[in-house]
Amino acid sequence: MAALPTRQEVEDLLYREAALLDEWRLEDWLEMLTDDAVYQVPPTDTPEGDARNSLFLIADDAVRIRSRVKQLLGRFAWAENPHSRTRRMIANVRVLGADGDDVLVTANFAVHRMRYESVDTYIGRYDYKLARVGKDLKIRERRATLDNEALRPHGKISFIL
């Protein structure tokens, strides 16, 4: 097993990801993912659930993530056309350990979405599984668990949380 990355190395990755997402550079963001990446947002009342037996808000496999990005960059994802402004605050980053060759990381987030002069804040915790691919760390799993008890008044998760 390779040595765990430092917190700074992981923070660099998370901050870069946050910047790419806030700047809507979603094609570049896809480059940060492994080919088998998954992206999940569990339901607010079942935060520890498993997407195979609980109704999630988002449970994308790699095909769906790519389709989601393609849609978001196209004309017809009306919920994000025009694009929302988002601003992500990532904090409390911790490298928790290893799962085989992958690295387990957690961090807190506050993601603000500005749209039609409303500000909605998504608050929660990221759980990442990062993979070593050559010299790089890539994202194999990305789970955003909301602390918000409901998507109210947010209404939707139409961008990449």
Binding site: T44, T46, A51, R68, A150, R152, P153
Partner: protein
């Protein structure tokens, strides 16, 4: 003009139907709706599968009322109003769980799982007029269950649930019959909202006209995963109907090319699942005969039960209910419904299918919410006073992309909002 009110214009001769946009923005109109609609109609409260064992409960808000859906120690599913009869505090403070009793934390009054008052500290301080029976937890005036769907009604004189549901029962049966053991709510509630009037979501939930335009991205996704949309056109043409089910309920029924987890296999589900689907289908044929089995398995339905329940039996089954907090803001709750006896693999497929389209993170629902919110902002232009819901009005057999289903809702809504309040007087006489 055959019928007109401050709210709608229903000109059947000319074939024009208009809705006054004031009904989406006016706080007084919402006050009237609370009195005439939400306090009078049957409102969906939950599914009996959510409280499978004695003592199981769910606490939630139904039509603005904090309630407890609970299965008593006598196995009866009840709906109790979540307020201590003493001074008002909520006696159930968890979202869900299992309990023998509900104890109010304020003064420790204790109720059993049937809602009976069983403990009052210092009861000897009360006079002989004090009665535990009288102080049991209250219930809505009527509570009833149709095939597992539990409804409440706050009007003691309203017609019973069976008659209220009218033609919608046939369509609830098509959902309930999908399992030999019964249906269950899958864990995980989608709790979201829209900055829009609640009636816009009623319209949207069975609007066949908006699909190709609002949901173009979804059809793009289907193309990406190899589902041929030309087949969709042919399928829709081959079977579609729009039905007024009475009492304001309406449904659209049609065929789709994207497969259903109830025994309608498509290649994107994978060859390894084909045999299992064929076996499921054979079983449906045995139970119901080929024609009904075909209808259960291969046709999709968007069902609107007046006023605020939607059951869409499409790429998965969703139950969706919503309630206006303000004229321009509603809270929405949605669940997935699945057969109790479904295999773990099919259940996972069902949930995966659900999320492609449905829910606040799906590839369609966020765009619906966006459109409703966009309409609500558009209504700020008060100079444009009316919305048009006339499509297909002069057709003998309205199509999926017509608007009969919405007119069905609006006619009932208008009737309840405008009829003179004579019912009680008549009963008293």
């Amino acid at each position: 003009m055959e019928k007109a009110s401050n709210y709608i214009i229903d000109d059947q001769e000319a074939g024009l139907f208009r809705v006054n946009r004031r009904v989406f923005t006016d706080p007084e109109c919402l006050q009237e709706e609370r009195k005439r609609i939400f306090s009078h109609c049957w409102i969906y409260a939950g599914h009996e599968s959510e409280v499978p064992h004695a003592g199981d409960y769910q606490s939630r808000t139904v039509a603005g009322h904090p309630i407890i859906l609970v299965r008593g120690d006598d196995s009866v599913v009840r709906v109790l109003l979540n307020t201590c009869t003493h001074r008002g505090a909520m006696v159930c403070r968890q979202k869900r769980g299992s309990a023998k009793t509900f104890q109010c934390p304020y003064h420790s009054w204790t109720y059993n799982s049937r809602g009976q008052l069983i403990g009052v500290p210092g009861e000897d301080s009360y006079s002989t007029a004090f009665s535990r029976d009288e102080m049991a937890l209250a219930s809505p005036a009527q509570v009833d269950n149709y095939r597992g769907f539990v409804f409440v009604c706050f009007d003691p004189e309203a017609q019973g649930l069976h008659d209220y549901l009218a033609g919608a029962r046939e369509y609830l049966d098509l959902v309930a019959d999908q399992s030999e053991l019964g249906m269950r709510i899958v864990p995980g509630q989608q709790s979201y909202s829209a900055r829009a009037n609640w009636k816009l979501l009623v319209e949207n939930s069975y609007d066949g006209y908006h699909g190709l335009s609002t949901h173009q991205r979804y059809f793009g996704f289907l193309g990406d995963v190899g589902i041929d949309m030309r087949a969709q056109d042919a399928a829709i043409r081959s079977h579609q109907k729009v039905v007024n089910l009475g009492n304001g309920h309406a449904v659209i029924e049609y065929q789709v090319p994207w497969g259903r987890p109830i025994a309608d296999w498509v290649p994107s589900f994978g060859e390894h699942r084909k045999a299992h689907f064929q076996e499921l289908r054979r079983r449906f044929d045995e139970r119901f005969g080929k024609e009904r089995a075909w209808r259960i398995c291969e046709t999709s339905r968007n069902l609107g039960i007046f006023p605020n329940l939607v059951i869409n039996d499409i790429m998965a089954v969703t139950i969706r209910t919503f309630y206006p907090v303000a004229p321009d803001y509603m809270e929405i709750n949605a669940w997935a419904l699945a057969p109790l006896d479904e295999s773990a693999d099919n259940s996972a497929l069902r949930l995966d299918n659900f999320l492609t389209f449905l829910g606040p993170g799906g590839f369609a629902t966020p765009d619906d919410v966006e459109m409703l919110e966009s309409c609500q902002r558009g209504f700020l232009n008060r100079e444009v006073g009316w919305s048009d819901i006339s499509r297909g009005m002069k057709r003998e057999h309205p199509s999926l992309t017509d608007e009969l289903q919405m007119r069905t809702f609006w006619r009932r809504w208008n009737q309840l909002m405008t009829e003179p309040k004579v019912r009680r007087a008549r009963k008293a006489a």
